[in-house]
């Protein structure tokens, strides 16, 4: 039912990373994170602000050092404690705010051809017969759906959506195999978001680039991603195929996230049934937990709607619940069974007879 997983492109094992305060105290943000991105795979990473998802993306891109664990790229060591945090062509980033991530003093053509000059012409452009950086910039602009005339524009002359297209073109210019896109559409207007999301999907298909899509919008992840990782307080609490995880979650945090996301169809259905909207929600109480707080027990227990005494003493490990799906909850199997029954499309395949 699940297509064979593509060979691993990036593999993170037991990654820990944190930030040192001026007092010398280190606040650990990532706790033993395992994550895998396959060749040309679209992987979503979701979680609330402050849970560490951006830090993890930054570790991959070499912007933040890790303090334990390792990241391998095609089997070779890419990041490990003590290794120089070299920026690599293979892993590129697209940031949330294209206003602050493009140099305002350079033209779009200049921004793109500079990358091509510094990094060299990537194979995907060489195979298209491109030799000069300026010609490469034109091909990239076309690939992201911008008119050639944009080449001489400055970033401030473009709209937000056009700027984000430039951000994608700039990332592509380095010839990456993985693009870490950190909330690439959350700063854009609704009417433009759809265009950028479709572009991301098209670029994956055209250039066979894998994407790690860091997002807080579950609908965006479901729309685009093959697999999803759900992060809570610096730990992966659930992962699996995106559709299946979001159709029948196996972790209470995923349940809470799903029920918190407003949805047009659900809103209309609930109201047509006369229910007050949100009546059936799994309220996730209180405020976000600092990832640096670490003790025995489940990090989510104080906000969880299913917490029991056991959750305060035993930290639930991330374990496989069904094929290709894992959850870090003592009650993962029961939660999955309960949610799978409610799912009205049996094709999701989570119910084991």
């Amino acid at each position: 039912m699940t297509p064979a997983a593509p060979p691993a492109l990036l593999e993170a094992r037991a990654v820990r990373a944190g930030y040192r305060a001026q007092s010398g105290h280190t606040a650990m943000v990532l706790h033993d994170v395992d994550l895998r991105v396959g060749e040309a795979e679209m992987v979503g990473l979701v979680g609330e602000s402050g849970c560490g998802k951006t830090t993890l993306g930054n570790v991959f891109a070499g912007l933040v050092a890790l303090s334990a664990g390792e990241v391998r790229f095609r089997g070779n060591l890419l990041r490990a404690p003590g290794m120089p945090r070299s920026r690599r062509s293979e892993v590129q980033m697209v940031f949330q705010d294209p206003n602050s991530s493009l140099n305002p003093r350079h033209t779009v053509g200049g921004i793109l051809s500079e990358v091509l000059r510094v990094r060299g012409m990537p194979p995907m452009l060489i195979s298209r017969g491109v030799a000069r950086p300026e010609a490469g910039a034109a091909v990239l602009l076309d690939a992201v759906g911008l008119p050639a005339a944009c080449s001489s524009s400055y970033p401030h002359e473009l709209s937000g959506g056009q700027r984000q297209r430039v951000g994608l073109a700039r990332a592509l210019a380095a010839g990456p195999q993985l693009i870490v896109a950190d909330e690439p559409v959350s700063a854009l207007d609704v009417s433009v978001q759809a265009q950028i999301l479709n572009l991301v999907g098209a670029l994956r298909d055209e250039f066979r680039v894998a994407f790690l899509l860091v997002a807080h919008d579950l609908a965006v992840v479901e729309y685009l991603c093959d697999r999803i990782y759900v992060m809570y307080a610096g730990r992966i609490v659930e992962h699996g195929p995106a559709r299946r995880v979001l159709a029948s979650p196996a972790h209470p945090y995923t349940e809470a996230l799903l029920s918190a996301v407003p949805d047009v169809d659900r809103g209309l259905t609930e109201r047509s049934r006369g229910n007050a909207a949100k009546a059936a929600r799994h309220a996730w109480k209180g405020e976000a937990v600092e990832p640096s707080v670490s003790d025995d027990g489940c990090p989510a227990r104080n906000r969880c709607h299913r917490a029991e005494a056991r959750c305060a003493s035993e930290t639930p490990p991330l374990l496989e619940v069904v094929t290709a799906r894992s959850s870090a909850c003592h009650f993962a199997a029961e939660i999955l069974a309960g949610n799978a029954c409610e799912v009205n499309h049996p094709a999701s395949g989570d119910v084991n007879p």
């Binding site: 479901e222 996301v261 209309l268």
Partner: protein, 310 residues
């Protein structure tokens, strides 16, 4: 330049009324006009009337306006960080609202009551905090507490949850729904998120380029949009419960952008971005029509009440 051009709508007591549209459509400009919060000059109100609880706002004296702002109509904005004074404790800010708007009441006691009414669990501690010590969700609750302290008839919530995480967003929306029920307070919800409209609004007004192009009961407008702009907005958002596998279910953005207020055409303002455009659309601006069930629409080719084929 006309930021808002002939917008007419009515918010009833305890009603949740939504104003939706892309950035630059005039949603916030409309909302600010309700309490004349635009700086005058340069802002002008050449036509129309705004009545809040029967009092005409646009020709009211400054003294009358002071009584309307806060007491009749209060605001909660997107970024709670900028709505709070960073160097004054939350308690003092809430107490000030009580002192100004509820003379004769105990500012501290009432203030604490409003903080807990806004869902802040430990009001005594929050009272002594400065805004930077609070999370985004808590700051937004503090801002809501300040609005409640004024005792408004209508709360204008301008993208109140856009800056917040989804779990916190759900908490704030539940709070607003509860306050509306318990206090009979009307809410004008300004948002670009159609899902919020589907979940909590009674009525909705879709704005485009300074005009209301479609209005009606929220469930009916979202289930059967009559204006192509409303339909296009609905097609642009990914929905969790939809299968997007089939090519027809792919998201479609809206090409182009909202025309600048100085360059709005004489004819239909959505022409050029609309996929159902005909020659007629560039001849004259479509008048407002009333197809059915309390709905109005400005389109020469309003989609049928069955939802049309688009």
């Amino acid at each position: 330049m006309r930021a808002v051009d002939g917008a007419s709508f009515c918010v009833a007591r305890a009603e949740v009324c939504a104003l939706v549209g892309e950035s630059g459509c005039g949603k916030t400009a409309t909302a600010l006009a309700l309490a004349r919060l635009h700086p005058e000059p340069p802002a002008l109100y050449p036509h129309g009337t705004v009545k809040v609880g029967g009092v005409s706002v646009l020709d009211a004296s400054p003294q009358t306006m002071r009584r309307i702002r806060g007491k009749r109509i209060a605001y909660v904005f997107q970024e709670p960080g900028t709505a709070l004074n960073p160097v004054v404790t939350v308690g003092k800010q809430v107490a000030e609202c009580v002192r100004l708007h509820r003379p004769g009441m105990d500012p501290a006691g009432e203030g604490l009551r409003f903080l807990s009414m806004a869902g802040l669990g430990n009001p005594d501690r929050i009272w002594r905090c400065h805004p930077h010590e609070l999370s985004g969700g808590m700051k937004q609750r503090a801002v809501i507490a300040m609005a409640l302290a004024c005792g408004p008839d209508i709360l204008v919530a301008d993208e109140p949850t856009t800056a917040l995480d989804v779990t916190i967003q759900a908490q704030i929306l539940e709070l607003l729904a509860r306050l509306r029920k318990e206090l009979g307070m009307a809410i004008l919800l300004i948002t670009h998120n159609l899902a919020l409209v589907a979940e909590m609004a009674d009525s909705v007004h879709v704005m485009y380029a300074g005009m209301i192009v479609e209005s009606g009961p929220a469930p009916s407008v979202l289930a059967r949009p009559a204006h192509p702009y409303t339909a296009a907005l609905l097609r642009a958002v990914p929905r969790l419960s939809r299968r997007h596998d089939s090519p027809g279910a792919r998201l479609r953005g809206i090409p182009g952008s909202v025309p600048d207020p100085s360059q709005r055409p004489e004819w239909c303002r959505f022409a050029g971005r609309c996929d159902g455009e005909t020659a007629r659309c560039r001849e004259a601006a479509p008048p407002e029509t009333r197809p059915a069930d309390g709905r109005t629409v400005r389109c020469w080719h309003a989609l049928g009440a069955e939802g049309g084929s688009r």
